[in-house]
Structure formats: structure tokens, C-alpha cells
Symmetry: D3
């Protein structure tokens, strides 16, 4: 059930059945020579839609722009400052709480969002924590899950790509987008040979430094290994992982 | 050319040809008994994609969550506070300026965004206006265009729906989404009879007041008139209107 | 009744009779070769005082500094960033709500304020809209009216100045200040011939760009036509327009 | 020379002669049974105008709304939060620096502003202090002077009112406004007998506490002693004090 | 009783006996040729600990970093912007109010903090002042006391150092730290002869300006007179002064 | 070398030798029945001082108040909101960059700080990343290291306390403070028997929820096992771990 494609009466009815919601959150940033700039938003969007086809859950629109300051030296990358992203997450959660949502699961596609989104959750909680008479406020729980961090996905990535997986512009995430948007990337680009085959690794600092260290944008990966077929397998694994994690979150005391 | 489905090298190449970009911006809010909650985001997304199929322009990911505080008494509506939305727009524009984009056209689908987005543009300009030595800064121009405000669309809406168009949950915007997402809304809901047929009108204040005034969410409209066929016509009109307005913006001295 | 020239007991008594207040809001910015820098603040102040002489209404002190970032390349112009002006408007409204004012009418003299002030109203409303238990909060309505936008004023400006009215440093607003402050501007300056007679028009971006486009500060106008006599007529028209609009606002359901 | 009643070309010319400016800053808050709510803004405005008639100095529009949170339990009082007032002062100073003003003298009428305005000055300075390459930035100095704190005014207040001066709604400030706005306050109110004759004193905390401690708004004063005649003497003393302090500020190394 | 060295149960028990707390607040900034960079934080920390050995009071951890923008041209100085320090003070007070603390005494060691901390107190009070139904909120009082401003300390400093006391890097504060940290400063540095013996005085503006005016960091002082013996006397005087002031604060109606 | 006990000239000299600095950062929050409220600040302070006795490094004053919103239902806990802590970290880093520090190592004692501090680093980097002409800005690197996360400490904790270590109010951190402040905690409290012996575990949400889940404040631990002797061993391990990590950070390309 996609929030954007529902009516408010349908959401009212859903809230009688469940108090949980999935919010896909990603980023808009370079993903190396053959990855989509939207990779980190497209992946959680795809997985969240997969979830909604299997279980009764509402999926909010994807927050497509995340914290990607380190990618700004590559054309097309867009970032929110961490303080802006925190404000966005806080407003979104407060809007959902207004309707009675009590469990907000952020399905994330971008490592660079993790710290900021977690800090934002604490900012949300602090609103009630400072209040000594907070008893009659609605209780909300927020959780962040990375689609790429589940057990099935981790195992599959290892099997498929081993030491070529790396940590940015990975063949796994690129495969997932090739599966989801099979016609969007020309063959010529898909098969770009990488040089060096495995990209370097290193710390992530500011944008100019990032580009010096990682000249084509990749970190530690060889995304020329990406295929739609691998993407399909990863998709099913990711949906299962995410459903499991979400249901554990819903069920938790 | 969709930013999310491009590589950074493709954007580099694009920037050799053009310095303009389209940023669809919408809202996630109730749209009456038979309109999608995502209407205001889906419409500019659809139109922007239509533009990108006709002219050489990059389309950024849709900013799906806008300023919708007045809709919060209806389930599923999500808002950013105006101050948050201003920070988002400012960060997005500053990111684009970083790459050399000089003309940022926000294609808007929600009247409630207009004031805040315009204020955000001034916040962006103020950054350089305060600087008496601003000469070597990149110059940027921002413009807001509402997809529903072009000449062709206005004329067509009038012809199609006359006095039943109203101002929120209009048959025009609902038609456009039925054209774009033909299978998403069950027939039963599409054909919901409205009571009263034409919704009331009035001022927009806070959320509780809005719900008192407009009990099913519509303002002045009868969206039961919406059809995919009308949506198709509106789509073509909107794409033409928006291309015209964007090209005028690009060409302006 | 001017707030600044009243005692708190008089305001207490007024609140027994009415819940409305006028807040004049303007700007401090260049107004071409023969216009006062304070034009946009002086005009609504004058009109608001005129209103208070005809009807029982409290007039707050004028917010003289508005959003004028685009004028900063001309000496004497002062701006608040939009985010600052929003905070000011919010604090003012919250102060008034504290006392029981329920209808705050901002009588505006500067087009550049409109977007920001409207965004600020939404920021105020959002405070209660996020609150699902908002019922016992005081209800407030905010409205923005431009003194120059009423029917009588528009008609009169057209009659008096026709195509020389323009949109910044207009003969109408300059006339109004000549009527209000007849001795402040030397004849020599008042009668400055304009070159070109009608100023150019164009978009408003940042300060450096503004100065390049509009070298003497005017947009589309010939303020050398301004006279105190025209100002007097405009004054009476503006007071009538504003009273009508304010009373409609007070009476609205 | 009043900024609001000047043209930008006149300010350009002034900047050839001087780099100083006076910014009157006050507050809009209750001033006891017979004091104007605008007292703290009217006084510095009056004194600043007096200065401008004696020396060649530009006077900015009065910042009429200051930090008056403690007065909010009395009708008509309006406050900015300290953080808002800091943003206002910072934007005003940055605007003035843009034009080449180098010495900004804030002539203050309200004790409650002092801490916040001083903090704002440090916020302004910090902008350049953090910059290790700040050499080419314009240098600005800000100073706060209270019109009531000069030697002549202090001596005169003591002579005129002795132990009845107090610290809020003082006979001195009330006298000054009676001199400046002789017709605004009806005799009946002017001569209100005070009970107790001298108001209590105590700490200033939040608004509800303030009203409990100081039921009619005064602190330590008997403003029934105020007269226009005393106001006239205080006016001349204040203008002399302020000119002396301003010229010392301009001349300082 | 030091908060950091207590358990939460001990604080619970303390709150049965008292509602007051001491929060030492200082700064980390250059203190001339022979003063510790931590002087302004070490002094109130030492005095607060002395207080806690004589009376039953909880001492919070020292806020060691204050508002020191003007010292940034000297290595090792660290500042918070005033707006940041205000947010810190507000969060600290709100945390303490959460537990039932009702009187928060900030024992300060740095003149540069005074304006900002006072502004922060008003920001705290404003939270309740804006609320017309604030009755059931916990009431809190905040007070700022400078350890160096008590009667005993002022008299002693005058006796010990007379005209060599100055206002920054004073022999009094340096002595106090020599008493508290006797081994931390090598004799060679302690006895540095000052040139000129008494440092210049002048206004405090931004960091670059400060360094030009006060090349070795001192203002008006000769800290080569500082000794641990003088520090010991000052310590006892300061503890007595601060206890007296704190108890007056606790007892106040 | 402690920053607080140094002169600015000593820091100047240090900067000739090194561009690195240690900033201990902790929290002020309940630590169960027998742990100090200051545990999370005291531990990194102790370890950082240990580092400075072994290698040539400057240690900044401890940031004692961190992000501890979830502990606010226990008396004595103090928090900064995440947004406030981000502003603090940003101002501290910008101050250090002003002097030429290029590697800022935050030695952390509190898991609750991690997300916010990392987000703050990105906020710092974003300042330069948005700037397309950032080349001449000083480059800075920030790193967060938890004193309890090094290899030696992890191994030792496991050996000493096994499954009783838990994650809040751990016997390891409590031991370290007993070693550092041997006389501060009465034997009676140190030996408090815990009930249940091992505290429960669970998610961390807001303050009221935390107290319901973890009634005496511990999570998963039995801190009655803590001893000064264990603390001494942990101290040496932590100093070694932290030195190793810091030197790796300094040496990194």
C-alpha cells in the first residue's frame, strides 16, 4: 500500500489495522562510472514496494535527498546539510505521530545518512523527554534499517561479488537498480571496464578530499560485475530481510 | 534525462550543453475522497518527465514532501514546517550551484508551497547579496512554475470542468494522476459521488480549522468528474506549457 | 488607537470590544532618485493611522525592516533574511495571541515581504497543526493586505499615472509619502527628471544583479510624476480599501 | 538626517563624510498605569531625532520591538525571543556593513535589550573572528548606549524625582514621552494616583511571576510625577549625553 | 556534593532537601604570557568545589567553553558562538527543571559570557511567558554570579594588586589558578616580566582587532604579580562571597 | 599537555611540532545504583590525560555534557539536544581550525554521542564541500574514538566481567572511575547488590520509556563487580588503545 497512491480514508482504515509505516530514505549522489545517481534512493524504494506487495504495510514517499556532502565534487550530487536532514526527519515523524502512527521504520539506502537519521530520532524523543508530564503524549518509536545490511543480502553479496563488493558504488546496489530499471542504462555504460578494477578505500572527509582519493567515485568496489540477474536475487533477499526486520520491530515490547 | 537515472559523467556532459535543471516539487497530503495523497507530487513528476522526453533537460528527483500543515487533520498528510522546507530548497540549490547549474526551475504541484519556496529563493540570493565582494560567486537564478497555471492547462480545465474545478482536489489534478497511474485507484473509489457535489470554499488556516470547514478535504471542487482521458489531455497541455515557460526562463537576459 | 500610545489597561478594555489588530509592515530600501528609503514602511504606517482615526482598531508599531535583500547594492537599504523575518512575525503573533488577539491583519507596503510573511503565517499555524490535542489552544487568524492592492487605489493609480506606475518606486507610493511628509524632500529632488523616463522592467534576483538591471533603482516607473496632491487622494482611497478589507476579515466565519 | 526620509544618493553622499549611524532600539511593553506601551521605543527615537538636528548623522528606523518576555502578562506587550532579536541585529548590521558603515551606535531605551544586543554584537564579530584570513573584510564596530544612562540625564532624574525614579515605568521616561507626544495621553490618566505610591522592587523572571510581583507593571517608581516640562529638560540632557557618547565612539582609535 | 561524583539516587535524596544547584561556567581562552588558557573555567570550578565543602549544595560539571570569539587570534582559544552558548544554557536548565531543580545559580568566571548567559535565561523564561496557561509548569529561576565580583574579592584584589589588576589576565585570577594548580606552571613562566608592565586597555571587538590592540593578550593588568599565596586568600574570599550570594538567591521570595 | 593548563605561547610552540589535538567528550547522566553520574565524561578525561603523559599531544577540556535525552527520567542527568551538540562540536572544530589544528580526535565515553558527533563532523565538512573554490581553506579531519572500543579494552572487559559487562553502567566504566576517583564513592554504595543481578536489555527510546524498561538505570550489566583494581588495568589498556588509534589517525594519508 503506497501512501502516495492511497486516499486519506484508506489510511484511516489502515490505522485501525496497524500503527506501522515504512519510510524509504536514500540519497542523490554519484555512484561511479556505471551506477545511477539515484541508486541509494531507488534501492530502498524498490525494496519497500516489494514489502508492500507481500505484507499489509503503508509505504511513505521516498526521501530521495540525503546527507551526501562528500559527493559534491561530482556533478549531479545533491545534499542536505545534516541539520537540514534532521529537521526533515523530525517534521515527517511528527506528522505521522499526528495521525496515530507509532512505529516509523526508515528503510535506508545510504550509509552517509545513518548518523544524521539516528541523531534526528533522538531529537524527536527529546521533545517528550524534556517534558516531566509527558504521559499523555503519543508514544512513537523510530528505527533505521539498511536494506543492504540484512543477513540474506550480506550472504548473497559475498557469494556473488566477494572482495569486489566494496562500500560505495557496490555491484550489489548497482545490480539492484539494473533489475529495477532495466532499460535506463545503456549497455555500453553498464559494461564500462573499471580502472583500477577494484577501487581504492580510505576515510570519508569533505568533497574535494573525496574526489582526490576516489577519482571515479567508487570505494573499494568493481561495479562492472553488476547484472540485472544478480539484482533480481538481491531484490528477493532484501525484501525478505526487510520484512523480517520490520515485523520484529512491530512486535517488540 | 532523469538525474536519478544518469551517471555523474552524463551530467558533466550535459553541463557542457546547458546550465538549466527542473526540480519537481510537490506535497503529500489528502486530496479528498477520490484523489491520491501523492497528487501534488505525482503531477509535477509526470509533467517533468514529459518535458524530458521532448527537450534536452535534466530532471532532479521530486521533492515529494512540501508545506502542508493545514492538511494534518487528515490521515496520511505529511508536512515540513516552512522553515524546514526553506532549508531544503536552499541546500538543493547550493548543491546544484556547486556543479555549475545556473538556472533552477522548480516545477510545482502545490499552492501551499509557493510562499515558502519563494522565500527560500530570497534566502539563497541573500547569501550573495550581503557580500559586497560577491563578484566571483556563481550566479544562480531560481524560478517557480506551477504546472496547473499555464495558459493551455487553464483553458482546458475551464472547458472540461468549468465551475467544478475548485482549488483543492480539483478534477484536473485528479485526472492527471488517473492518467499517470491508471491502475492505482479502484473504480469504486474513482466514482465516489461527492456530497455536496461542489465542496465549500473558504480561507486556509490551521489543520483543525481546515477539517471543520472542509470535512472531506476538497475545496470548491467536484473531483468525481475526473477521468484518465481528461488527464491525458491535461498532460499534453501541461508539458507544452511547462516547456514554454522553462525555455523562456533559460533564454531570459 | 495606537498601541504605542496606549496603556495596557486601555488594551485590556479594547480586547473586551474587539479581538483584531493591525500590524503595519514595510521595508527600508532604496526607492529610486526621488523616493524615500522608508517609503514602504511609511505608507502602511500612514494608512494604518488613517484607519485608526475612522474605526475602533488598535495599530501596532510598524515593522519597518522587511525582506529587501535585492536592494542591498543601494546605500541605506536594510534587510532581514527571510528566515529572520519569519521568526519576527511568529514572535509578534505569539505575543498578540498571549493577550487574546485572534485576528492579526498585517497591512503591508512591500511586495518583497509577501512570500515570507505568508510562510511565517504557516509556521505559526503549524505550531497548533502538529498538535493532535490542539483544541484548547487559542485560535488565531493572520491576514496580509497590501495597501496598494485595493480596488480604489488600483483604479486611482491607473487614472493618475497609467503606464508610468511601474512596480518599484511607483509614483503612487512616492506621492503618498509626499503627502504624509510634505517637508522632508527638497523640491529639487522631487522634480528630478528620470532617465530613461520609464524605468526598465525584469526579474528580481540578487543585489548585484538588481543594480545592473535597474541602475537608479526604479522598476518600470516614472516617479517624477509624484505629487502631494495625488498622495492625498491615494491616502483616502487606501484607508477606505484597507478598512473594507479589515472589516471583511473580522467578520469572516 | 533620517534614513527613512532620505534617498539612496543622499546616503551615498553621507558615506563620503562619515561612516557612523544611529540605530534607535526600544521595546513595546506595558509601562504601568500612566505610561505609553511604546515608551521604550519612543524615547530613543525622540533623542535620536534630536541628535540628528544638531550633528551630521544618519538615524535608522527605530527597532520598536525588543526583548520583553517578562511583560507578556500585560496586554499589548510584544516580545522577540532573544534568539530572534539577535538575528535581527545581525542582519541589520550586516546590511549596514554592506554599504560601508563602520560604526553602528544602537541608542537603546530598554534595559531588557542590553544582554541580547551585546550578545548579538559578539555574534556579528564571531563571523570574522572564525576566519583566519579575515583581513579583507570590512571592519565594523557596534556600540550600545542607553539614552537614560548618560551623566546629564542621571543627574537630572535624581534632582527631579529622587527615590521615586525606580527602574521600570520611571517618571523620567514617562516625562520624556509626555514631552514628545503631549496630546496622546488624557489628563485623567496622566494624573492617576499610584497605589502604593512607590512600586515594589524585585527580580525579573518570567511573565506570570512578573505580574504577581508588580501588579500594575511598575518597578520601584512613581510615574504620577511625570510632566511634559520635566520631559523637555530630560530631552535636552539626553541629546547632549548621546551626542557626546556617539562622538567619543566615532573618534575612538 | 559534585554532580559528576554522585549517583542518581543521591540526587533524588538531595532534591528532598534543596532545589538549588551551582553550574560553574567559564571559558577556554588565552590569558596572557603567564596565565592558563583554562583560567576562566578553572576559577569558578575551584570556587564551586570550595562552596560544596562548606554547604549542602550540588555542583554541576563546569561548562568550560564559553563565548570567547575575541580571543580567537591567540592559539588555543575556543569559542562557542553566542547563539550556540544560549542553546547550551537552555538545554542545561531544561534538563535540571525536569528533575525538579528550581534555582540554577551559574557561577561565572568570564566577563565575555555575561551578556549571552543573561540572554539565554530570558530565552528560557520566554518558553513559559508565551504560554497563557503556564500555571502548571515548573517555575525556575536562574541567576548569574561572577566569582570575582563579590565584595570580599573586590576588596582583596584592590589591596593586593591595586592598579595592576586590569580586566583580562588579572593577577587575581592568575593567582587563584596558581593556588589551585600549583605545579602546572613552570617558575620561569610564572615570573615572566611583562612589557609594558601594565597592559593597554580599550574596547573589545573582533579577534584580529583584539590582537592588534593587546599584543600579548592582557588588558590593563600585570599578572607577573600573581602568586599562589594571593590565590589562597582570594579563594577563601571568593567561596565566602559566592556562598553568601547563593544563599541570598535561595532565600529570595 | 593540557590545553587548560597551558599558555597560548606554549600552544603556538606545540603547533610547530604537531597539528593534532584530543577532545574528550562525554555525558552527564545516571549510571545505575553505584556508578557516578559523570562516568562517561570522567573516563575519556582520565584516558586522555593518560595519553598526554605518554606522548606529545594537547588535550582540550572535556565536553562533559552530551546527548543523553533518554536518561532524563533519572535525577541529575543533563542533556543537550542533538542539534545543540552539533553546534557545539562545529564551533569547537572551527575554533581549532582557526589556530591551524588539522586533526581533531574526539575521545568519546558515551555511545549516545556517536551519531550526533558524526553528524556534526559532516556539518563541518559541508561548510567546505558546498564551496566550489574551497582550495585555499584549511583542511581538517575529525575522528571519533570510543575509549571502550579498543582491542585491548574489549579483551580485558571480556576477561574481567564476561556476560556481566552489558552496555550501560558497565562494570568496566564504573571500575575506571573507581580507579580515577578512589575516594569519591562510599564502600556501601560501591557494594550495592544489584537486583536483578544482570540488568535487562532493550531498545533506547525516550526518557519515560527508558525508565520503565530499566528501572535502576543499568542495561545488561552488573556493575557491582566494579573495582579500582580492574579500573587500573583498564586504564592502561585504554591509554594504549587510544594512543595507537590516535597515532594511526595522525599518520593517515
Amino acid at each position: 500500500m503506497l501512501l502516495q497512491l492511497s486516499t486519506w480514508q484508506e489510511i484511516d482504515a489502515y490505522l485501525e489495522r496497524s500503527r506501522g509505516i515504512i519510510v524509504p530514505i536514500g540519497s542523490t549522489e554519484q555512484h561511479g562510472p556505471n551506477g545511477f545517481i539515484g541508486t541509494d534512493a531507488l534501492c530502498p524504494e524498490l525494496v519497500a514496494r516489494g514489502m508492500s506487495e507481500k505484507i499489509d504495510v503503508v509505504v511513505a514517499p521516498t526521501l530521495s535527498i540525503g546527507m551526501a556532502q562528500h559527493h559534491l565534487a561530482f556533478s549531479g550530487s545533491i545534499t542536505l546539510r545534516p541539520s537540514t536532514l534532521m529537521a526533515v526527519v523530525r517534521d515527517v515523524v511528527r506528522s505521522l505521530v499526528r495521525h496515530g502512527f507509532e512505529r516509523c521504520y526508515f528503510l535506508n539506502g545510504h550509509g552517509g545518512n545513518v548518523a544524521t537519521v539516528r541523531a534526528a530520532f533522538s531529537e524527536v524523543y527529546a521533545d517528550t523527554s524534556f517534558n516531566r508530564h509527558a504521559g499523555n503524549e503519543p508514544e512513537v518509536r523510530c528505527q533505521l534499517g539498511n536494506w543492504y545490511d540484512g543477513q540474506r543480502v550480506r550472504a548473497l553479496s559475498k557469494t556473488l561479488f566477494g572482495g569486489a563488493e566494496g562500500s560505495h558504488a557496490t555491484p550489489s546496489e548497482v545490480s539492484l537498480t539494473y533489475y529495477g530499471w532495466p532499460d535506463a542504462m545503456p549497455e555500453a555504460i553498464r559494461n564500462t571496464p573499471m580502472a583500477p578494477r577494484i577501487a581504492p578505500t580510505g576515510p570519508i572527509l569533505d568533497a574535494a578530499d573525496y574526489r582526490r582519493r576516489f577519482p571515479d567515485g567508487r570505494i573499494g568496489s568493481d561495479p562492472s560485475l553488476a547484472t540485472p540477474e544478480a539484482g533480481e536475487k538481491l531484490f528477493h533477499a532484501a525484501v525478505e530481510d526487510a520484512i523480517e526486520d520490520y515485523q520484529r520491530f512491530l512486535a517488540a515490547a
